[in-house]
Amino acid sequence: MDLNLILQLTTSGFLLGGVYSLIALGLSLIFGVMKVINFAHGAMLVWGMYIAFTLMNWTGIDPFFSFAVSAACLFVLGYIVQRTVVNRIMTFHESMQVIAMVGVMMVLENMAQLIWGPDPHSPHTKYSLSTVWLGSVMIDIPRLLAFILAILIAAAVFVFLKYTDIGKSIRASADNRIGALIVGANVNKVYAVCFGVGAACVGAAGSLLVPLMPVSPHTGFPFKLTSFAIVILGGMGSLPGAMIGGLMIGVAESLGTVFIPSSLKQVISFGIMVLILLLRPKGLFGGKG
């Protein structure tokens, strides 16, 4: 077997896995606290991409700097979605929640198509084609930068949850909603902020992906599916699980193409997901079964 190929695939997969992790982190955070699966996660990723893309076109600001704007906009969007939709369906059966969230996804996706059109855009940034070579292994600079920023953003989210008052309230609400209510936490606000933070994570991830792949209204779908697999692998609601799971799925998907046809790439992530559900349903880092 070609060692260079294995090294190349591992590197590429690992770096993209960092962005997968950030996407899955948002999904896991929302599920962990509200027990609602955000089916609009992929569509939110697309909005993050388009905001960065638009800023780049209008002002020339690079997506690796404008990720903060994407994150802020998506925070607001997430906050609004939580207050207007999610808050009303939290006590409903999961199947009913799915319908509402798929509705949000369709609205967001089609709004993106109406606003930005259906054509895929691949904007050219100063370093979107830059690479460095370590021997015969290519390191894609935008992929490396996206990885570093994704890990830094994820670390910032951990710090926010661990050390800020609202972060502590989010963790308290996730652990015990009634308990949090009894001690005076404004649970509705906590939920809205939590959904906003989850959406901000995926918005930032969207921005980081702009130099890497074409921006189109339906880019988000495969990422959404992959992030579901990551969240189940890492453990539903487990944030470290989402991070480790993202890196594992990134490498597994990339390396898997050596052994199975690329058209079956997603079989790898879903195969891992099925195995985890059979052997360890709580996931690698999940606290509860």
Binding site: L9, P118, L129, S254, T257, P261, Q266
Partner: protein
């Protein structure tokens, strides 16, 4: 003495005016109204191929508008065409339900749907319902090999693509004194991609053509990361890449080839979208140069092409008639021609007229549209196009060529100063 207009007088005059209008005016209006014939366009207007779907719907709609502007279907009293719109979302099940809906809404004939998988489901339904279906774009051979009576295809089949590709490759190899090419074939995992890739490889083997296929890589439609696939291609060290792509992955592929510095003599598609859309050249710039694609292209010297392209570009700035929008336009013209000769909207009359079609056109390369017993257009043809100086040129056949093809690529993708 001035007569006052009171309520009773007003009512009297109103009634008189109303009655006059009812007796004389309205029938006049009705008499002036031409009957209307509904046809339906089903394209992937949303979903992963929405850019192509919208372009095709525009082609369908512009053809309907042009026919109506020229007096509609004259043999039926100038009946106007009305286009019912369906969106397949690039999904087979949705394509079928949309076809069901437009048939219920009174569509006498269906046109569409770009994707071969979608075409198969629509063709099956149209056969059950007895409604004519004209495929403007959809290439998989299998669709017309099921013995359908109501399905016709204006576009080229995958077999035709393969034959033309081998013809052009033979010419290129002979002229450039190339005895053998070592290639890698890639394709998307949808029905068209699979059939197109497999038919090309089978044609190479059957004809013992001197192109050795080192690898065949298939990846899912809508893929967002091709780094692993390009790493595999690089490891195989091919001379030429033969990709069957879609708009998004074509861009991903070029960028990854650049980044991973894959050395190639050429990128020659056996026939697929992705390489000729304005957005590909806009975003890839010099990296797009020297890509070749074997496609049913527009006829650059055709009068009809010039007129239609001029109107299309004016209506949709930044766009031009390409394979998809061109065939979408042509598909509706073929239906209108059949209606004109059938003088009827009965399905069997339309089918009978379609079978006898001989529609002269110079919008796309190839001769007049004419269907064989399977319903395939026997005269659908392809041209080899190449991006030269960030503009698309027909390079083969020579009779339609706008420029001489360039092979091998004079500069590698990663050596073009981008």
């Amino acid at each position: 003495m001035k007569k006052k207009m009171n309520r009773r007088t007003f009512l009297k005059y109103s009634a008189a005016v109303g009655a006059t209008t009812a007796i004389a005016g309205v029938p006049t209006l009705l008499r002036a109204q031409a009957p209307e014939i509904k046809i339906a366009s089903i394209q992937p207007v949303t979903g992963v191929l929405s850019d192509i779907g919208i372009s095709m719907r525009r082609g369908n709609q512009m053809a309907v508008d042009d026919i109506n502007a020229k007096g509609g279907i004259k043999s039926m009293g100038g009946a106007k065409l009305r286009l019912l719109l369906g969106d397949s979302e690039a999904k087979e099940d949705v394509a079928r339900s949309e076809a069901e809906r437009v048939i219920k809404d009174g569509a006498t004939c269906l046109v569409g749907p770009f994707l071969s998988g979608n075409a198969m489901t629509i063709a099956t339904l149209c056969e059950q319902r007895g409604v004519p279906f004209v495929m403007d774009v959809a290439a998989a051979d299998d669709i017309t090999r099921k013995g359908f009576k109501y399905t016709f295809r204006v576009f080229a089949t995958t077999s035709k693509f393969a034959d033309s590709m081998l013809f052009y490759m033979d010419k290129i190899m002979k002229e450039k004194n190339i005895s053998k090419i070592r290639g890698v074939v890639t394709n998307t995992g949808d029905l068209f991609g699979r059939v197109q890739g497999a038919t090309f490889i089978k044609a190479l083997k059957d004809k013992k053509f001197p192109i050795e296929v080192l690898g065949h890589i298939e990846y899912p439609l809508g893929i967002q990361d091709l780094s692993a696939e390009i790493s595999k291609i690089k490891a195989l060290k091919p001379d030429v890449l033969f990709p069957v792509a879609r708009p998004g992955d074509a861009k991903l592929m070029i960028r990854e080839l650049y980044k991973q510095r894959v050395e190639l003599q050429g990128i020659i598609s056996p026939g697929s979208p992705g390489w000729y859309e304005p957005e590909f050249i806009r975003d890839m710039k010099a990296l797009a140069d020297f890509v070749m694609d074997n496609v049913p292209w527009y006829n650059p010297v055709g009068k009809m092409y010039k007129e239609v392209n001029s109107a299309f570009s004016k209506k949709f700035p930044g766009k031009y008639i390409d394979t998809n929008s061109g065939y979408a336009y042509l598909g509706v013209l073929v239906i209108a021609d059949a209606l004109e000769r059938a003088k009827s909207t009965k399905p069997d009359d339309i089918v009978a007229a379609l079978k006898k079609t001989y529609f002269k056109q110079d919008l796309m390369v190839g001769l007049a549209v004419s269907f064989d017993e399977r319903g395939d257009n026997v005269n659908a043809d392809t041209a080899m196009i190449q991006i030269i100086g960030q503009s698309i040129k027909v390079v083969l056949p020579e009779k339609a060529a706008e420029a001489k093809y360039i092979h091998p690529m004079p500069k590698q993708i990663w050596d073009r100063g981008v």
